[in-house]
Symmetry: C2
Subunit: 440 residues, 2 copies
């Protein structure tokens, strides 16, 4: 059923460079519209969606019939001439002159995700197929751009990538939310919650480092902001203070958003994202202290008291005051991790900073300056009742050439959810893992 000659295969994303040429597209039927003696198959190939035009009068009868009978997600290779067509989605279309059907999905067992509405559990159970839809496609392409931008930022600012281990013997921030792994029956290890402690070692070797990989939290949370497995990028810098940490955090967030705006406009349009909100993301980010945040929240009616952490609602309330990401610093030492450097002028607060996204998306970055003094670190390990033996290597970093240092972690899924304007982080990763979701 193929047309007389075999033209070169191109990607739909490159259609604009082949106007007037005969080409082949290998893909899947996304949708089919019929209008009298013309059929318009929409073909997707992973790089885009292209409208084809099959005219009854111009095609052999069996070719036209084959096209007309196509079912959703049937795999097909179509050939024809590319032409500019302002009315077509994407601006180009293919004047179809041949088709090879690799597999026709039968009516007896049709593709389960139809253009109609489906419930979220139905779609999540079919995540391996749902990823083919335009919206999921757009989200994951934006995610890719976010990941690239993050790496490009650090690679071009003197940071060395030093990935930290997934299997860790000790816990970074408490043991209650750790996944435990049986290690050959002779040992137990935990899945990393953060590469930070290791980053502190590698920062002393490389000056500026980052790690970027999956992290794990066994939290029994079912909120729209939680996954049990999520990706985090964590920079760490030797000879750095809280101000250096803030500067890198601000630059990074601006750079990432800028890159998405530059390279993923069509995807943002698919998601109907209000890009004016993203265009606001420019330095300087507003900065308030934790004290100030508590005062603002109380004035807005939150029951929060000084000394407790923000809840999700508090974060949303705070973000009402800002049109871009903002920073909150100097949290009470008691609610933060053992390794946080106290403010020399107010030891009850630490030199930590969170960056919160606007529009109620909550914390996307948490970090700060770490304790570099040996005696203070030892005291904190004792106060937090941590097993000193497991931290000996970490303590070594304060014995052999300790220096002020700091860094932060940025959660990729929360970042993507915010940039895409999504209700829930579950759509920001290909195969999300949640309390009651480990399949497919």
């Amino acid at each position: 059923m193929a047309a007389p000659s075999v033209p070169p295969r191109i990607a739909i994303a490159d259609a604009s460079r082949h106007v007037g040429e005969r080409v082949r597209i290998a893909g899947w039927l996304y949708n089919l519209r019929e209008s009298g003696k013309i059929v318009f198959p929409l073909v997707r190939d992973g790089t885009g969606i292209l409208q084809c035009v099959a005219m009854k009068n111009a095609l052999p009868a069996e070719v036209f019939q084959t096209v007309r009978d196509l079912t959703q997600e049937s795999s097909i290779v179509v050939s024809g001439k590319v032409r500019a067509e302002p009315r077509a989605p994407g601006g180009y279309e293919l004047e179809l002159d041949g088709i090879e059907v690799i597999q026709r999905v039968p009516e007896s067992d049709p593709y389960p995700i139809t253009p109609k509405e489906h419930g979220i559990e139905f779609l999540m159970d079919r995540r391996h197929l749902w990823l083919r839809s335009r919206r999921q496609h757009a989200i994951l392409r934006i995610r890719h751009e976010v990941v690239r931008a993050v790496r490009d930022y650090f690679d071009s600012h003197g940071f060395t990538l030093v990935d930290t281990p997934i299997f860790t013997p000790s816990a970074c921030e408490g043991t209650t939310t750790l996944f435990e792994v049986n290690y050959f029956d002779h040992d137990k290890v935990y899945l990393t919650q953060s590469g930070q402690l290791y980053n502190e070692a590698t920062a002393m070797a490389f000056g500026k480092v980052y790690c970027f990989g999956p992290t794990f939290r066994a939290e029994r949370s079912k909120t729209r902001r939680h996954l049990t497995e999520f990706w985090m990028v964590e920079p760490e810098m030797a000879y750095a203070t809280l101000d250096d940490v803030k500067q890198v955090a601000e630059e990074l967030v601006c750079y990432v958003v800028q890159r998405v705006l530059e390279n993923r406009r069509p995807e943002l349009a698919v998601l109907e994202r209000d890009v004016s909100k993203l265009e606001n993301v420019k330095p300087p980010f507003p900065q308030i202290s934790y004290d100030e945040a508590v005062r603002r929240l109380q004035a807005k009616g939150s029951p929060i008291q000084w000394g407790t952490d923000f809840g999700g609602t508090d974060e949303t309330l705070l973000s009402e005051d800002f049109d871009r990401p903002f920073m909150v610093d100097r949290f009470p030492a008691a609610i933060k991790a053992f390794y946080m450097q106290p403010d020399p002028e107010r030891p009850e607060v630490v030199l930590g900073v969170d960056v919160l996204a606007p529009e109620g998306y909550g914390e996307i970055i948490g970090g700060g300056q770490r304790i570099h003094d040996l005696e203070l670190l030892l005291r904190r390990i004792e106060e937090h009742k941590l097993p000193r033996e497991a931290f000996e290597w970490y303590i070594d970093l304060r014995k052999y050439g300790t220096v002020p240092h700091g860094g932060f972690g940025m959660g990729i899924e929360r970042c993507v959810a915010w940039i895409c304007g999504l209700d829930h982080v579950r759509e920001t990763i290909a195969f999300p893992r949640m309390l009651y979701r480990t399949r497919p």
Copy 2:
């Protein structure tokens, strides 16, 4: 003790751009040499090592004494004028005029890794400090370049990054080498051994994809090629055959080696790597069939019989015949994974390919074309006694628009070991995890 004014801080890597200027360097004492009334402290800052010159006659007595008394890995900020000095390591030196000691490592508890020889277990126990040494530093910087090159290759060739889950309900290649995780007491999951099955789903959505993350194998191996936790990049392409897979594999390996040669010459020199071996890495890679490989091995005296897999020694023997990476294809179906596409002309072999590094470094890439026919896949799942229920989603990919497709996995640590010319993969990752090694 600081000099009169505070000059700008620079990184050692940028010294060449500051010749004749007064600057500050924040780092650690790497080594100290004394020659009469001159002391030469070598300072490292993570971006390089710079020789400083402290002259007794030119410095206040207490500054000179401070420099002279420095101990290894003491953290210091030095100031002075940069000058070109061909005899200095790196070609530049700093005429020291001031020093601030952040922490002097005391003689009573000195830095444990001295320039003398240490045993491997001693060093591995102190991996958090060992990373500061010149050789480890060079290896991990090459690793970073390899990772960047891999990502740049795929990002610039139309592949979408779609990271696959670490927590997986089913096993890709057998269950005996899986790490099991207790998932909130209501489920059990395994740590991924490969993202391939998920890649096949995402390739049907995006056309060309790759995933790049840590993978896990609970192998009781203590060879120089095995880690329990290692990083792997895995591309997968829809509408692709074995030949497409080979082409991408060849291009990728050449590109990665080229990038290291371009950007990491000094590090290769530190490792005393024979770069002529790497300069050989150009297309086309020699290709032999499994049959041919067996004949060659038997001729070299190996006891291998047709139908069994290569051992490490076989891989080394084979590589004697080649001056660059080479490919072996069409393995017996019986020793390969259930999803491998049989050769239509010889169904007892599959359309798989391994790429082996030269110089005895063994397999760095394994991949091939996957079964796309529904009936055949179902038969294989049955033959391999795999639980069909766990594979329903994977089977779906053959029901809804199946197409020929293929891809491969490339192990980063083996690649880095080969490029760096290392005896053992344990030095190719910051914190290696092995059968009896989970710390620090």
